[in-house]
Symmetry: C2
Subunit: 315 residues, 2 copies
Amino acid sequence: MPKKSAYDDVTAFAPATVANVAIGFDILGHTVEAVGDRVRIKRIEAPEVRICSITGVAGELPVEPERNTAGRAVQAMHQALKLPYGFELSIDKGIPLSSGMGGSAASAVAAVVAANALLAEPLTRLQLLQYAIQGEIIASGAVHVDNIAPSLFGGLVLTVGIDHPRVKQIPVPKSVRCVLVHPHMQLATREARAILKAHVTRSDFVWQTANLAGFISGCYSNDLDMIRESFDDVVIEPQRQSMIPGFGEVKQAAMAAGALGCSISGAGPTIFAWAETHRTVAVQAGMVAAFRAHGLDSDAWISVIENDGARIVNP
Amino acid sequence: MPKKSAYDDVTAFAPATVANVAIGFDILGHTVEAVGDRVRIKRIEAPEVRICSITGVAGELPVEPERNTAGRAVQAMHQALKLPYGFELSIDKGIPLSSGMGGSAASAVAAVVAANALLAEPLTRLQLLQYAIQGEIIASGAVHVDNIAPSLFGGLVLTVGIDHPRVKQIPVPKSVRCVLVHPHMQLATREARAILKAHVTRSDFVWQTANLAGFISGCYSNDLDMIRESFDDVVIEPQRQSMIPGFGEVKQAAMAAGALGCSISGAGPTIFAWAETHRTVAVQAGMVAAFRAHGLDSDAWISVIENDGARIVNP
């Protein structure tokens, strides 16, 4: 049984994430350092997991631990470790609900990172990943780790496999930033998943794999031209884009302002672009204006991509 | 119009290639330095392309230039450049026919490289690629460049696009060699292509893209564990393996001897494996023995993967 740490009360931050990153459906994701969720966990005597408050851009999140992504993740960890004491969670949401910015993953990740800090024998990040997945399943109805893994590890992250996941951090060219624009509407991940076709044509398969390989190769070799030319999702984006009013115009505005690429963040409706530092302000302005022309206000962030992932912020 | 070079007679060598490399169907290929084709080209007065001899493991290759991959490639180049003189080709085949080792590509590549050396204003490799493609179409019935590009550029090569192909050389860990085993049977690329399904399930698509991304990432970061775990073709190999007697046993023998991975070279029947240097002899022996148990003799090579691609060997 794990021992207690010196602390009884820890707060962790986990960043928002862009899943899929255009060409890596269900396998790639990257952090957006500028925004995230915080979870404070207190040790309590009763051997159970409770949620005492949800603040921030919380909307209508369930407070029953087994229905809440952070609660469920810590429950899974608590059960597996057979702890004789319990945890009380306070969740502070910085990531809008159903925005496609990995909010459910960030809450689950911040929760397990905070809970782990209360143990004197910390679990590895790969072990924490498994518990966080239990939370994510509640939100999306499917097991996928392309939000959780980057939120936990930081940066651009490839994840392969579920039962024994391999996690690989991929370098991002230093001059590249992410522009994230969240229109004021919601899209449920379950719905965005349900509309996807069960098959991919062999031709689209080859094209998408070429773009994926080019993109990763471009990241490793700091080849912005290759990244720009590979940044094209021919499989998922065409199926989902009609769910986001103005998607075509927003993307066009980003590209016209010099973005390297632009696509849907996770299941949407948030749209992200990659751009060199000196283009980011123009890219963001173009995307926000294009949404506004479709009657949608939005929040927008410009952020570095690489960071250390979820971390303890207090004490 | 290009000027003549100082030479009237040039011989070029182009290496054999492993297309697909398990997880990069139609987009990845790598050279096998140990074996290849040679094409000697003489300038002749008549403004036409002729083939005067085909030697080596030639089988029944057509000598009409428009039906021969090397002839057709040089014809395409000759026509585009509107040359007032002609070329006479002597083709020396080192690569067995219909073996899945990129023989048609190597002949086309050696031919355009040799012809280019006879011009005083050499074309770029990307331009040569376009002419070599014209030859490859004759052999395979489809436009694909995953044999031509590596044979021309050398090493492990990613190619994206046909009309404006992007070519990217990907580093291969220094300790890795390719074991290539060619059983004495033939498989026509057209047939091996015809049996492929027109669709890929979304689940296989995700799995294959994860493996592709892991493989490329492993190559860039010298991560042999990642290469080993990603070296698994879940889309094409299951559809083609029944065309190769003993495939399962040959692969099993390679893996039991410590290979990083093993799959079909191009459309087969040649099977390739990647292995660390000190494993190669055992891997090769196991693969050859497994084919023999199925009544098939074979030729086998152990080769470095990275090289400079097609080159002039004489004068």
